[in-house]
């Protein structure tokens, strides 16, 4: 094969690859990028049912109910607005009322957020960055709320129903 032909083929293959990549990426991004919402955002932006999202804020005190069949409902709040969340599965360690949480899932038809995954902080001093930013925006950020004491853990926590 002549060199010029070879170069042409190389370029054609390269362009085909780029086209394939662009198609894959655009298609992939279109359906899969999820945006972060604080409860205030949810009301301000009139989020449509079926929207995939990451919802973040604090677990509203007194809102958590764990049902016999394993279902969990609670509200996520930024102390200005709150959004009801339902979830089925294992709650992460250190998921507590009054503490930071990020729920991944989509908005249901009844305004409830159906979470597929719940992220709480990893250790006792960590607050998800997105939640901190959202709380700062709603003017409800209090650094101390990131690290309250956590009694009842450790030895004997197994005996604590």
């Amino acid at each position: 094969m002549k060199k010029s032909n070879q170069r042409l083929i190389s370029i054609a293959v390269g362009l085909a690859g780029l086209g394939l990549a662009a198609a894959l990426v655009l298609n992939g991004l279109k359906d899969t990028v999820t945006y972060f919402y604080s409860p205030t955002d949810v009301y301000a932006k009139h989020v449509q049912p079926g929207t995939k999202a990451r919802l973040g804020g604090l677990v509203e005190s007194g809102s958590l109910v764990q049902k016999a069949d394993g279902a969990v409902v609670f509200k996520v709040t930024d102390n200005a607005q709150s959004v009801p969340v339902s979830y089925r599965g294992l709650l992460p360690d250190l998921f507590r009322e009054g503490q930071g949480v990020v729920a991944e899932g989509e908005f249901g038809a009844d305004g409830q957020f159906v979470a597929a995954r719940i992220l709480a902080k990893h250790d006792e001093t960590y607050m998800p960055k997105e939640v901190v930013d959202a709380l700062k925006r709603s003017g409800e950020w209090r650094p101390e709320s990131g690290m309250p004491p956590n009694p009842g853990m450790g030895a004997g926590m197994g005996a604590n129903p």
Partner: protein, 669 residues
């Protein structure tokens, strides 16, 4: 005192690295064997002093010397011995010291490969060791001026903060050193690329010199990533093994570019083609390693396991990244030869390796885009976006499949010429086997399409590896080949094992991802529940105490079909770090796992509990993870293939030009 010695050793290694760079540069420019010898000494001593520095840091951890800031933040007197040692590199500063040490060791190894009498005309090894000296120098500068592991605290605290409990795990103790052998190994490949451009060496000679390093770095990276995935699987307790998390992607991008590089170097070494492309890939591999370090250490991207978040450090690494990338590509722009090498037909080994490279590079680009998209989006629109597994599965999956379908064919084609598709006839059996596997998976196990197609891919790749081995053994019949199989050189096994490993991996990944089942149950003591097709009876919940943690352990009796056995998942609470962790219980049957994670007691999170009675209940997450063992087994095979390729090359000695020099020397000795 030991800390001051450690800092002294670090500074000595820093100075010696500067010496190494200068001496070896001069040696290469003047063709002076005496300077080369001094440069080699400098490189060797730098490695020795860097080792001493790391030992000094380990001593600080062993003695729980809390006047050292790093020890105070990351250690505790009650921590087990192995994690005191591993704690030395389980933090930002210590891991940077290890980075420097590995850079020194690689630099010395490169310098040692240089023929002592300077018979190598282009002085490739010496030049590469000089560039490696520059990289070590910059790394040491960053270590000493921006992240000194020997910084003191005054007054010293009485107790330390403990190593992140998730890292107190055997796999994670050796994961960072292996990962750094991979990341920093890419710096040697980069050094050789620069050396090749600098000396205007023949592409074939350069590729021959660079390829063992690429194989070494890539194999270590493979092992490091596999260990990390395995750790995530059993330690995080989430039931998964790969989350497309930015930190994981950071290690995966250099791996993809590295895989492209070893294939491209093969072409350059044998045919002289793809020379410029190989150089670009080599530069890109190290740039991606640095980009990974930047993403992980600057905290610019939120990740579940980012550590040492400090924007100021990010700026330093960004500077290094810019220097390495622009320096490398700048030199490339000035020196690239623009040669095509020997022409080849599209249906030839070169043609298929070209497609291989295209697939790997595009895959790497999609991962890069997905990883950086949240950053770009936040900078442009201000919205906090996240790109999760669906994106990566939709983009990466098809590309991987395309590459895997073409791999066995590329292996059988011959160099340069289109010899007709008859060469691919042995693969017909593989195609038939793939169809059989897919049908068996769909009909026999009612597998979803992803699992079925991955089973087909596995059959295709394993068959292809078998055909390749048969061809290499050179027997007329399969029986004859089996007799000859011992005579296949190690290098021949490399490709066979790596491609077979890809098949095994694809089988595990496809089946596990599409057929895993997850159920959550809540049990009171004495109660029996059903999850994942097995019955679980909670016999007791015990408490206990480890060296630096409390334990809650669930005793479960599991009835799984005809089998009955006990499982005992734990929750641990590390009191110094004030962090709970999950220790899952795993029952492994031929690579398929029953996986039980012990959750918090129902009601521990506060709030109301609605239940039939007020007995205390605990939550369990039960996963059926079919074929998960194949994922790690396949990855291990891939790494083994890379290592055999490396050992096979080293065993054969260096280039023919060097071989006589060695013999002459051994005669003298």
């Amino acid at each position: 005192m030991i800390a001051e010695l450690g800092l002294l050793f670090t500074c000595a290694a820093f100075a010696l690295s500067i010496g190494q760079a200068l001496l070896l540069t001069q040696a290469a420019r003047k063709g002076d064997a005496a300077l080369l010898a001094s440069g080699r000494w400098a490189a060797g001593l730098a490695a020795v002093f860097a080792t001493f520095a790391l030992l000094a840091l380990i001593a600080g951890f062993l003695r729980s010397d809390f006047s050292l800031a790093v020890v105070a933040q990351n250690s505790h007197p009650n921590k087990p011995l192995i994690y005191k040692i591993a704690g030395a590199w389980g933090n930002h500063e210590g891991s940077m010291l290890m980075w420097c040490l590995v850079a020194c060791i690689y630099g010395f190894a490169a310098a040692s490969r240089a023929p002592k009498d300077g018979r190598d005309e282009s002085w490739l090894d010496a030049r590469a060791a000089a560039v490696q000296g520059v990289i070590a120098t910059l790394s040491f500068a960053y270590l000493i001026f921006a992240s000194n592991p020997f910084a003191r605290l005054d007054p010293a605290p009485l107790r330390g903060g403990d190593l992140n409990p998730l890292l107190q795990d055997p796999a994670l103790a050796i994961h960072p050193p292996l990962l750094y052998m991979g990341y920093v190994g890419m710096s040697v490949v980069y050094s050789y690329a620069i050396a090749g451009l600098w000396s205007r060496a023949e592409p074939k000679a350069w590729a021959k010199a660079a390829r063992p390093w690429a194989l070494a770095a890539w194999s270590f990276l493979t092992i490091g990533i596999t260990l990390g995935a395995y750790w995530a699987y059993y330690e995080l307790g989430w039931g998964g093994w790969w989350f497309w998390d930015p930190v994981e992607n950071a290690s995966f991008m250099p791996w993809l570019a590295g895989a492209a590089l070893i294939h491209s170097l093969l072409v350059t070494e044998r045919r002289g083609a793809f020379a410029d492309w190989s150089a670009i890939l080599a530069i890109a591999c190290f740039s991606l390693s640095l980009l990974g370090a930047f993403l992980v250490r600057s905290g610019i991207i939120t990740s579940v396991h980012a550590f040492a978040l400090d924007p100021a450090r990010g700026v330093w690494i960004l500077g290094l990244l810019g220097l390495a990338t622009f320096g490398g590509f700048g030199l490339y722009a000035m020196r690239a030869r623009g040669e095509q090498g020997e022409p080849f037909a599209m249906v030839s080994k070169e043609g298929f390796l070209l497609i291989n490279n295209l697939v790997l590079v595009v895959a790497c680009a999609t991962v890069l885009l997905g990883t950086l998209f949240p950053l770009i989006s936040e900078a442009v629109t201000g919205a906090t976006a996240s790109v999760g597994p669906p994106y990566f599965n939709a983009t990466f999956g098809p590309l991987l499949a395309l590459g895997l379908i073409l791999a066995p064919a590329g292996v059988l084609l011959s160099w340069r010429r289109h010899i007709g598709l008859a060469a691919l006839r042995p693969l017909l059996g593989g195609a038939a086997l793939a169809v059989v596997f897919a049908l068996a998976a769909i009909i026999g196990a009612s597998a979803p399409w992803l699992a079925a197609s991955c089973a087909a891919l596995a059959a295709w790749l394993l068959w292809g590896a078998g055909v390749d081995l048969h061809r290499r053994a050179g027997g007329k019949t399969v029986g004859e080949s089996l007799k000859n199989v011992r005579r296949v050189p190690l290098r021949g096994w490399a490709g066979v094992l790596a491609h077979a490993g890809l098949g095994v991996f694809a089988l595990g990944a496809g089946v596990e991802t599409s057929m895993r089942q997850e159920t959550t149950i809540a049990l009171a003591v004495g109660e029996t529940g059903e999850a994942g097709g097995a019955k679980f009876r909670l016999d007791a919940v015990e408490t206990g105490e480890g060296p630096n943690y409390y334990i809650d352990r669930a005793r479960l009796t599991v009835t799984d079909g005809a089998d009955q056995y006990e499982m005992a998942p734990e929750r641990r609470y590390y009191w110094a770090a004030r962090t709970p962790t999950t220790e899952v219980a795993i029952r492994d049957t031929f690579g398929s796992d029953l996986y039980v994670a012990f959750g918090e007691p129902v009601g521990a999170s506060g709030g109301k509990v609605e239940a039939a009675d007020d007995k205390p209940r605990w939550r369990f997450r039960v996963n059926r993870n079919p074929f998960v063992g194949f994922i790690f087994g396949g990855s291990a095979l891939i790494a083994l293939g890379g290592l055999l390729g490396l050992i096979g090359r080293l065993g054969r000695g260096a280039s023919p030009a060097r071989a006589p020099a060695k013999t002459a020397e051994s005669v003298k000795a």
